[in-house]
């Protein structure tokens, strides 16, 4: 039975499910959190310089070292950074940070207000030690801005523990020899992190709470949109399990599945622990079993031995059948052991529950069991790699097996695309926090913070005030052009025109493979303005936007002139209509006004959006009348 089928039967209350969310949302500010650089993403190809660095973990001001940072730094890695004409020395950690960006602080206070949170008296900028290279400084600057809020869900109130204002990390571009390449464009973009209290008690409530928080964030109209601009972390535990932080859930829709799978994983691990305890399972000492595989046909093992490496084994007494047990869809206890081995540079492990396979023969498995000295109820895990790597990796795998005797380990896991998770590192502790001495504390002043209208309220208002259909109203309110829509409507643009252009028209163009992302806010504003001023007929909007998207360096006015869109005066329109009418003289004479609808289409086609439909219709009627 797969873990997935099992999940349907879980009684989450009985299991004591406790879940919390951490939502990370980038803010759409003009400049970064601690410098005056723009918050725009770049193509790595556009990099103007590169430089390389190493990082070394440091102690907190209370004299402690963080476990996660220490584990990360065991791997001595070189980090290469890509810098751009849109980044500066602050991102390069070669200039002290400037003061905290005011715009970002204001937006954060707006978010605090939407969640009924209490801002702190004095916000201290902290350094959260992160030595994986994603921050040039070796830490992420993070500030606690507010605490003690709440949001509503249909299953009850969910408390909001804290609201942090942080800097976004650098984007990982590629793995390189001995290290990682990062791009500095993203580093320093303001980010709010919202942490809920562990008040969530079902997978569905987790999803609903995440959606609610997402809606509140977007209601400010000041958050970034699109892939990667929002990330969800989920903390899950069941009563007999342990707190597990799951990082980087990219899609909101996956949250309930992630929670379900994690509950299943923890429940299965608890069951495994019970079984192992019952049969007095144990983990033995690791040993070198290279001799067993001298003649092997297994490509992985032969490859490692060919390079002068070793095969290391660890006996897992009483584990037979357990290492291969599925604990999440397509993931076994052995996969967990393998994740730990990978952290130490190995490609993974093999274990006797899955052997013979991968070129390892039944005879070799027998010889392995004999060499290690285990009975049929025992299992063996092996790692083949450079001797040093294999040794560290098998030790890590053995330690993880040892933990299986106790149940669920507390840890940080990463979300996979299929709704499962993988081991990342130990849970970070308070020891990774150090005050940011380069930036003075700030005193948040919530008195002037505007209370934004919620998106749910906007949907209602667009229908009531602007007469938009509920579908279009929702599209606009939740869409990324919502702030633009509100601005142009305030400037007197017809709401229906604005809404249908920004949602329907752009969606159609996108479907036709027009690169609408190149259109700037100015472009869209100007196109709507041209229509409003009567300089461009409604019918010309699609063509003009297409022309602009193809060559976005032009203004809307220039593109309209070049494409000869709009601006057709009455005489031109009449001439075009006369052409059409004369071409169809026989039909007009015969059918009279009956010919109107057929000819109207032809006229509009001939004018290709240069004239307003009402005018064409009026003139066409006149011309038909003259001739019938």
């Amino acid at each position: 039975m797969s873990a997935n089928e099992e999940t349907a039967d879980f009684d989450y209350e009985a299991l004591g499910l406790v879940a919390g969310l951490e939502i990370h949302q980038q803010l759409d500010t003009a400049t970064k959190l601690f410098c005056q650089c723009p918050t725009e993403l770049r193509d790595p190809e556009a990099a103007t310089r590169t430089f390389t660095r190493y990082l070394h973990p440091t102690r907190s001001e209370l004299g402690e070292l963080d476990d996660a940072a220490v584990e990360e730094s065991k791997v001595d890695r070189e980090f290469e950074y890509l810098a751009y004409d849109s980044t500066c020395l602050v991102e390069e950690d070669d200039e002290p940070p400037h003061e905290l960006d005011e715009e970002a602080l204001e937006t954060t206070l707006e978010v605090a207000q939407l969640m009924a949170m209490e801002p702190v008296d004095q916000a201290h900028i902290m350094r959260k030690i992160v030595v994986d290279g994603s921050n040039t400084s070796g830490f992420q600057r993070s500030t606690l801005i507010a605490t003690d809020g709440e949001i509503e869900t249909s299953e009850g109130t969910v408390g909001i523990e804290d609201l942090l204002l942080e800097e976004e990390s650098a984007q990982r571009v590629a793995e390189i020899d001995d290290g990682v390449r990062y791009s500095l464009d993203r580093l320093g973009i303001p980010l709010v992190e919202i942490g809920t209290k562990p008040d969530i008690s079902s997978p569905e409530q987790a999803l609903e709470a995440a959606e609610r928080i997402g809606m509140l964030l977007r209601s400010t109209g000041k958050v970034k949109r699109g892939l990667g601009t929002i990330r969800q972390d989920v903390n899950v535990s069941i009563e007999e399990g342990a707190r597990v932080e799951i990082k980087g859930v990219q899609s909101l829709d996956d949250i309930d599945d992630i929670v379900r799978n994690e509950v299943a994983r923890q429940a299965t691990l608890v069951k495994i622990a019970d079984e192992l305890t019952e049969c007095e399972a144990a983990v033995g000492d690791r040993q070198d079993v290279t001799d067993v595989f001298e003649e092997t046909d297994s490509g992985v093992i032969a490859g490692a031995l060919g390079d002068g490496g070793s095969v290391m084994a660890v006996p897992l007494y009483g584990f037979d059948g357990v290492v291969g047990r599925e604990i999440a869809p397509d993931r076994r206890l052995g996969t967990e052991l393998s994740d730990h081995a990978k952290r130490h540079g190995a490609g993974g492990i093999f274990h006797t529950d899955e052997l013979p396979a991968y070129g390892v023969t039944a005879d070799e498995v027998e010889a392995l069991r004999e060499a290690v000295g285990v009975d049929p109820e025992d299992a063996v895990a092996i790692v083949a790699d450079e001797t040093e790597v294999a040794d560290a990796a098998i030790e890590a795998a053995g330690e993880r097996a040892e933990t299986a005797l106790e149940g669920v380990p507390e840890e940080t896991r990463g979300a996979n695309d299929d709704g499962t998770t993988r081991y990342l590192r130990p849970l970070p502790g308070a020891a990774r926090m150090y005050p940011e001495t380069d930036v003075p504390p700030v005193e948040p002043d919530p008195s002037d913070v505007p209370e934004p209208e919620l998106l749910t309220e906007k949907v209602e208002r667009y229908q009531d005030e602007y007469d938009l259909s509920s579908g279009l109203a929702e599209q606009v309110a939740y869409g990324k052009y919502m702030p633009l829509f509100e601005d142009v409507v305030a400037d007197g643009i017809d709401p229906t025109l604005a809404a249908s252009t920004l949602e329907s028209t752009l969606t159609e163009l996108r479907r036709d493979d027009v690169d609408v992302e190149t259109l700037t806010r100015q472009h869209l504003e100007d196109v709507l303005g041209l229509v409003d001023d009567g300089e461009l007929p409604n019918e010309g909007v699609t063509d003009l936007l297409t022309a602009l998207a193809t060559d976005p360096d032009r203004t809307a006015q220039e593109a309209a002139e070049e494409a000869d869109l709009g601006g057709a005066d009455e005489d031109e329109v009449r001439d075009a209509i006369i052409d059409v009418v004369e071409r169809n003289e026989a039909q007009v004479e015969e059918e009279g006004m009956q010919a109107f609808s057929g000819l109207m289409g032809e006229c509009m086609g001939a004018l290709r959006g240069k004239a307003d439909g009402d005018l064409v219709s009026e003139l066409l009627r006149e011309e038909i009348q003259k001739r019938s």
């Binding site: 430089f51 070669d94 200039e95 004095q122 830490f139 926090m433």
Partner: protein, 416 residues
């Protein structure tokens, strides 16, 4: 209620628990919450209850709970390097009073902070001062020179001086003039504080120790040679200048390529030009200084009364414009100072290139008045040199026009 206590703070509708930290103001309590975040709370509004006393020992040294010892077994095969701490960013931690970073480690702590130094040498640690380098003063140069002298006499095969970067170039110049040395004396520091994982202190310290083990028995400054962690440049102590406020590669040799470099990856030390070799000179110390020397930068609109301040001084370095000029109207006053016994030395605020007061009338008038030219000596170095020369040179004017420690290049060789 003391820093280090675990406390519960009630403030309006909210309760916060955490460890009380030393606060930087009277208005705010600073509490470290469970998650590690610090927050400030209005003292007036807060109700504080102490839950447990002295949960953390916060003595401001930042090294509590640390019983590790830095005593490392002596290895006969390794050279002995003395690490001298004067404070500064390379050995700094948080100062709770100001919230800023301050210097508080001794040399042993540096070893602890930079484990990468282990196994490269046998180390001796000395602390000469514990100051930020902007607070450096000539008497500390003298003390520093004396300690270096002592250490070399005691058998050190090289000396590394950990120094704040702001005035490192002055201290390096001072030791260049004060000491004849048979072993390398290498200054190093860091531009980014040691409390950050990205600090340049590890690489700079490692490279400085490698340079101190090398064959170049001069006073050197060893700092990052680029923005990357790849190369440290070795600068002659009398030609080096901090040319950027914050970059790792702020230090540059003016008017030439750096004397040498240390490759961080393969730890090779290399040199571009001739240098004084290990053992070539006999150890000697001449550390007397004339304290009454000033450096004056001339700018348009300068109040001539500025010159009154230095009346009666033993020496004055003028940082003139261009080839070495000041406003013509100032010349008679300068002549008076010289007649009164002040040695007036001309340098240029161009920094690159040598002064030449024979080209224009103003210059010729300055020479006429008795001003001494310092060639291409850097203004800061010239000040230190004049302080030293006034006490130790038979002919000060001749000394200021001659290279004693590589501070004055006889030939201007284009290098870029």
């Amino acid at each position: 209620m003391n820093p280090g206590d675990r406390v519960r703070v009630d403030r309006a509708d909210r309760t916060l628990e955490g460890v009380l930290l030393p606060s930087s103001t009277d208005e705010n309590l600073v509490v470290k919450l469970e998650g590690g975040y610090n927050v400030g709370i209005d003292r007036g509004e807060a109700d504080v209850e102490v839950l447990a006393e002295d949960v953390y020992e916060i003595d401001g040294t930042g090294s509590n709970g640390d019983d590790e010892t830095s005593e490392i077994a002596f290895d006969d095969d390794l050279p002995t390097i003395t690490l001298i701490s004067t404070g500064g960013t390379i050995a700094s931690t948080v100062d709770y009073r100001t919230g800023a970073v301050t210097a508080q480690f001794d040399a042993e702590d540096v070893l602890r902070a930079v484990p990468d130094l282990a196994g490269r040498a046998n180390y001796r640690g000395r602390v000469v001062a514990n100051i930020l380098s902007e607070n450096m003063e000539p008497p500390i140069w003298q003390e520093l020179a004396a300690v270096v002298h002592e250490e070399i006499e005691a058998g050190a095969d090289g000396v590394v001086v950990m120094h704040g970067t702001d005035t490192m170039q002055y201290s390096a110049a001072a030791l260049s003039f004060m000491l004849e040395t048979p072993v390398p004396i290498v200054f190093t520091g860091s531009q980014r504080s040691a409390d950050r994982p990205s600090s340049d202190n590890v690489m700079n310290a490692v490279a400085a120790v490698e340079a101190a083990k090398s064959d170049c028995a001069e006073v050197l400054v060893c700092m990052h040679g680029s923005e990357s962690d790849d190369i440290c440049a070795l600068h002659r102590g009398t030609r080096v200048r901090k040319n950027h406020t914050s970059r790792r590669d702020a230090f540059e040799t003016v008017g030439a390529e750096p004397l040498g470099a240390v490759d961080y990856e393969n730890e090779a030390v290399s040199f571009r030009r001739d240098y004084q070799e290990r053992g070539e000179a006999d150890l000697a110390l001449e550390s007397d200084l004339e304290a009454d020397v000033e450096l004056l930068k001339f700018t348009p609109g300068m109040d001539p009364a500025f010159l009154d301040v230095v009346e009666g001084s033993a020496g004055l370095i003028v940082e003139g414009t261009g080839l070495g000029h000041v406003h013509t109207d100032l010349i008679p006053r300068i002549e008076e100072l010289i007649d009164d016994g002040t040695t007036v030395v001309m340098t240029s605020q161009c920094l690159e290139g040598r002064v030449c007061d024979r080209v224009y009338d103003t210059g010729r008038d300055l020479l006429e008045a008795g001003v001494v030219e310092a060639g291409d000596t850097l203004p800061g170095t010239a000040k230190v040199k004049l302080m030293w020369a006034l006490e130790n040179s038979a002919d000060v004017e001749e000394a200021m026009g001659t290279s004693l420690e590589g501070e004055l290049q006889e030939r201007s060789v284009p290098w870029e």
